[in-house]
């Protein structure tokens, strides 16, 4: 029993990372209808950046994360303006090609700037808590708390603020949103800023829990899309539930079956869910 709880907690930590990636993907998809494949690589860029600020500039971890977040917010604006806006009114296949090209570019830049060695963001959060036989490393606990805070903040932003409601409105009915007076040129900028910043947070989490290396971002974005489909496309609760289900399934599979097969098992579970709920766990039929 303790072993199960242990694995579930491990799963919640990695699931939290998946949720943050998926939230960025789902808001972008909801509003622009594009699969932003470069999101994983951009997220890794954020992780690398934090690593760089900590190791090369000697910034404290929190300060390094803050600076990376600001860079992430601005990077999101640039990605929307330079990469996706020019193809906004074109066929969706064009945006798809742009997304693939952008992925390669960002991966290439990561390689150029930060090298091909894997890096781990150093933290001094190495205490281990023991609660009734379940061990929780301090870092993992902070990752879970930070992910939870970001998810709550994102939900409040979308549900309670005028801009958040406008984002939802554009996602639900773009023309009607224009008729309400929503500026559909600025909304995508906001969406890309926020999702890139969330991606940066996820990158920092991956970089401190595990490691960042070339190719990790692409794996992460695939997981992110799997979460979207599992949870229900374009839905924030779906991204949260989907991310946690995927993370916990992986951790249980790794703990009790084999860590070599954890991805296979997670995807088998996902296919199983979709057989019975094609609209996803939280999606509307």
């Amino acid at each position: 029993m303790i072993e199960i709880i242990q694995q579930i907690i491990n799963g919640v930590a990695i699931g939290g990372v998946y949720v943050l990636i998926a939230l960025g993907l789902t808001t972008v998809f909801g509003i622009l209808g594009i699969a932003h494949f470069a999101h994983g690589s951009v997220s890794m860029f954020g992780g690398y950046l934090t690593f760089f600020f900590v190791t090369a500039w000697g910034l404290p971890l929190i300060a390094a994360i803050m600076v990376s977040l600001v860079v992430g917010l601005m990077l999101g604006v640039l990605i929307e303006l330079l990469a996706y806006r020019p193809v906004r009114d074109a066929n969706h296949i064009n945006a798809f090609i742009v997304a693939l090209g952008l992925t390669m570019m960002v991966e290439g830049l990561n390689l150029e700037f930060f090298g091909h060695e894997q890096v781990v963001i150093p933290t001094d959060l190495d205490r281990v808590f023991n609660i009734g036989g379940v061990t929780i490393p301090e870092l993992r606990l902070y990752v879970i708390l930070a992910a939870a805070m970001l998810i709550v903040a994102m939900t409040l932003f979308v549900e309670k603020t005028k801009t958040g409601q406008a984002i939802r409105a554009v996602a639900e009915n773009r023309d009607a949103a224009i008729l309400m007076g929503v500026n559909v040129n600025t909304i995508p900028l906001v969406v890309f800023s926020i999702s890139t910043a969330l991606g940066v947070c996820a990158g920092v989490m991956v970089g401190s829990l595990f490691a960042i290396a070339p190719g990790i971002g692409e794996g992460l974005v695939v997981k992110g899309f799997a979460v979207l489909i599992l949870g229900g496309l374009g839905s924030i609760p779906g991204a949260v539930v989907g991310g946690l289900v995927l993370g916990i399934t992986e951790a249980l599979a790794a703990g009790f079956i084999s860590s070599a097969y954890k991805d296979v098992i997670a995807f088998v579970v996902m296919i199983g869910v979709l057989l019975f709920r094609p609209q996803g766990l939280m999606g509307k039929a």
């Binding site: 005028k162 009607a176 008729l179 500026n183 559909v184």
Partner: protein
């Protein structure tokens, strides 16, 4: 209040509005009638900035709003209650109403919501329900209330009776009459020409992208070609 001069609209290389001119005066209810595809909805879309005007000018209170972006036209004072209602289906009735006031920054939005719920009591019952779960008639009332939430100078209704049961159609007609009595300026597009001409002070008849006839509601009702082609008597 609204002056359109020689408006041309094209989709791609095909021109579908061939230079129309029309006017809506303060406090008036003006109807655009005509067959499906005659260009009424495209005219509305050009006014609201959803499709570009290829030529001509659209003026609101002496200000040129031709080809301005959709959101600035809303700010200028025109809102449209679109064809097919177009509520935000997964947002609640209340959230839909609040979206209607998106461009407003004043503190009276809450009291306006109360006013709308007094006007359409069903919306109060449905306040926390997702708009997509409302019936067609309820959604039409929500779409009308949402449009009024912007406190527009000119309120445009695009086919408000389309796809509704006859009893609800009559209710929609009553509602538009009440909005007119509140002193709002209305531009109404309807395929239900009989209802439109009863409500309208003046009307324009569209045929194949041109205005072929205009006059008061009564004049058009009794005009032989209108009576024959559009009123069925």
């Amino acid at each position: 209040m609204l002056n359109i001069t020689d408006l041309h609209v094209s989709y791609g290389s095909i021109e579908i509005i061939h230079g129309i001119s029309l006017e809506v005066r303060q406090g008036e209810c003006v109807a655009l009638i005509g067959a499906n595809g005659a260009g009424k909805s495209s005219t509305l879309k050009a006014i609201c900035g959803l499709v570009p005007a290829a030529m001509g000018t659209i003026m609101l209170e002496g200000r040129d709003i031709t080809n301005q972006s959709g959101h600035s036209i809303v700010k200028a004072g025109i809102t449209m209650c679109p064809e097919g209602r177009q509520v935000f289906p997964q947002m609640t009735t209340l959230q839909n109403l609040k979206m209607g006031a998106y461009t407003r920054r004043d503190a009276e939005q809450a009291s306006d919501i109360e006013e709308m719920m007094d006007m359409f009591p069903i919306l109060r019952d449905r306040a926390s329900q997702a708009a997509g779960t409302l019936s067609g008639g309820e959604q039409e009332m929500l779409a009308i209330a949402r449009a009024l939430m912007a406190r527009p100078k000119l309120c445009i209704f695009d086919e408000p009776s389309l796809g509704l049961a006859p009893k609800i159609v009559a209710e929609v007609g009553e509602t538009i009459k009440r909005i007119k009595e509140m002193g709002k300026t209305i531009l109404l597009v309807e395929q239900n020409s009989a209802m439109a001409l009863r409500l309208a002070d003046r009307a324009y008849l569209f045929e194949a992208g041109e205005i072929v006839l205009s006059g008061t509601g009564e004049e058009l009702q009794s005009h032989p070609s209108v009576a024959k082609a559009y009123l069925g008597h």
